[in-house]
Amino acid sequence: MAHALGNRPTRQSAREGFIGWLDYVVWQIERAFTLLSSLFIFGLMMIGVVQVFGRKLFDAPIFGYIDMVELAMTTFAFLAISYTERLGGHVRMELLVGKLKGRVQWAAEFASVIVALFVVAILIYYGWTHTVRAYEFGDSTIDAEYPMWPSKLVVPIAFSLLWIRLLVMAYGYARLFADPERTPIGVPVVGNVAEQAKAEAAEALGADAREGGR
């Protein structure tokens, strides 16, 4: 598993040239998306509690609760995807890439991002047509018959932000490939297993143990 090391974009990194600025701007949108996603998770907890008590104590379950949850799920299934990509939080096998150094490493990372750009572009377009289909020909949830398209729309939106992030990362890796001596900016720094474990431990132990603030 790959996890974030301490190189989040900061106000300081934002001053490191165009890449730093770009990284930071996208990061702000990513943080907003992720906070929104967090709020939905918090809301899911609250609505679950209300549903249980409503049903048990007052015999008054929230009508369409399951449908509502299904519709809301795209927020926490997708909105934070770009944020997590920036932090190097999506799972991958580090066995080989963790051993690479210098130009070879940045070339491999760059190639990886190009593949991702292609896939995500397709997912945006066909996720969008999926939404349009649901809007034009009608698609609804099972019980409460809420329209499905707003939920489907979240997917291409989240993927669009991810695509922009991947573009910034491609730029970041290309910059490092050109000159491996530069400080990595705008890309997650992913180390070997031991370094990731350190990051993972820091996460579990809370913010106080995390290196490098925001």
């Binding site: 967090s38 949850v69 799920m73 299934a77 096998m93 066995l95 997912l123 997917v155 993972e200």
Partner: protein, 435 residues
């Protein structure tokens, strides 16, 4: 050249393997192979179109909504001070045994497992809580480190557990049954760990001495601190057992209880925000892995490979138990290199129907696979739990951590053997409740 569907499927697997090994993120690797495969089979518009429907259609399903709740419980539990309380009680109750503090660590991690679904997180927090105590009492560092790394793995068997939910969803079994099924095997695993420690400490008393001197009064007083854990266990267990709430609702209630406790313990807005952000991050990571891999699995579905594999396995002229052992060995090897969720998502669509055709119980297989995946968290070369312990305690060298978990890996194989020999350890409880 016209390729047969089976050839296409196998090529797909090879392509995926190559991409994963060279470090492409698994969701991207799986999606691109699935995409190219589908486009090759049914054309651009149909292939890419189908791929475009998968992220939404695989994510927006109510059953999966339990995941963020389970994850949130774990992140809040740390702020609710549950770790210290659980370890304190375990030490007072079990310290007198040979290797007592290590035994206490096992039961404390098992208790914490009831509020945490992540093995690495559990290992991390107990590295900080339990290891210093053990070292202070003169325990050998390899035992101290080993028990924490191994104990961490209990988090995925004992509910709440994200991995069990994902297994249930891939194979379309009741989430409730899987969660119930994890209880007893989790406890059995803990008991076998404890047994190994006791035996090890009797053979070599220098590695960890009993801690005596606690009065019954002290013991009793340590119990209330563990009530939050009991509350979460009771909520989740009774919800699935008595059916008064869906797993998501039970998870929400459990998270809420821990949330209130954390507030009472003085959790601040910053802590809450961090817990929520980390939950959002881990949640999106899991969902992304799910739909990404399922794009590949959709392609496999079009090739018909899963059905072919089932046919092949059932035509083999070996006793099912031999085939099962080979399958489990396969998982042990795969688990050395892959993350548990990714491994299950990738293999189950092919392996699961074959296992069922062999006559094995779906719930039983789920628990055994998860147990195997967890063993891999403490074995070289990338036993992540060991690295986590080493990261929190850099003073304990990695080689010593790996040496320390050795006996626990043996314990795990004993446990899996028990599951094979006595399947009812797993199936009894869910059958009791849900028929």
């Amino acid at each position: 050249m016209e390729l047969s569907n089976e050839t296409l499927g196998i090529l797909g697997f090879v392509g995926l393997l190559v991409l994963v090994v060279i470090g492409v993120r698994i969701y991207i690797a799986a999606a691109i192979v699935g995409l190219i495969g589908l486009i090759g089979m049914i054309g651009w518009d149909a292939g890419a179109g189908i791929v475009g429907t998968i992220p939404h259609s695989k994510s927006a399903s109510y059953t999966l909504s339990v995941l963020p709740m389970f994850i949130l419980i774990g992140y809040l539990a740390f702020h609710a001070g549950i770790t210290d309380a659980v370890f304190d009680a375990a030490r007072k109750w079990f310290g007198w045994m040979p290797g007592g503090l290590a035994v206490a660590s096992v039961f404390a991690t098992a208790g914490f497992a009831a509020v945490s679904g992540a093995s690495t997180a559990t290992a991390a927090v107990f590295s900080r809580v339990a290891i210093p105590e053990m070292l202070k009492s003169g325990y050998h560092p390899k035992l101290a480190a080993g028990v924490v790394a191994a104990g961490g793995t209990l988090a995925t068997l004992i509910p709440p557990s994200a991995i069990l939910v994902i297994y249930a969803i891939i194979v379309e079994e009741s989430v409730g049954q899987l969660l119930l099924a994890g209880f007893i095997p989790g406890i059995v695993s803990a008991l076998v760990y404890a047994g190994i420690i006791v035996v090890w400490s009797i053979i070599d008393p220098t590695i960890g001495r009993p801690i005596r001197g606690y009065t019954w009064g002290e013991r009793v007083k340590s119990v209330p601190g563990t009530f939050p854990v009991l509350a979460v266990i009771v909520i989740i267990f009774s919800a699935v057992y008595y059916g008064w709430a869906t797993p998501t609702e039970a998870g929400a209630l459990g998270a809420f209880v821990v949330f209130v406790l954390a507030l009472a313990k003085g959790m601040r807005w910053d802590n809450l925000k961090d817990a929520l952000l980390e939950t959002a991050k881990l949640t999106v990571m899991i969902f992304t892995l799910i739909w990404g891999v399922l794009i590949f699995v959709r392609f496999l579905g079009f090739t018909g490979v899963p059905a072919e594999f089932t046919e092949w396995i059932t035509s083999l002229d070996y006793p099912p138990v031999v085939i099962m052992i080979f399958i489990l060995l396969g998982y042990a090897i795969l688990g050395m290199f892959m993350d548990a969720i990714g491994m299950m998502l990738l293999t189950l669509p092919v392996v699961y129907p074959a296992v069922i055709a062999l006559g094995y119980d779906p719930i039983w297989f789920g628990i055994v696979v998860v147990k195997m995946a967890e063993v891999c968290l403490v074995t070289p070369p990338i036993g992540l739990n060991c690295f986590v312990v080493n990261a929190v305690r850099p003073d304990i060298p990695l080689t010593q951590v790996f040496r320390g978990v050795g006996p626990f890996v043996v314990a795990d194989f004993i446990t899996v053997g028990l599951f094979l020999a006595f399947p009812w350890i797993i199936t009894w409880l869910p059958q009791q409740v849900l028929g």
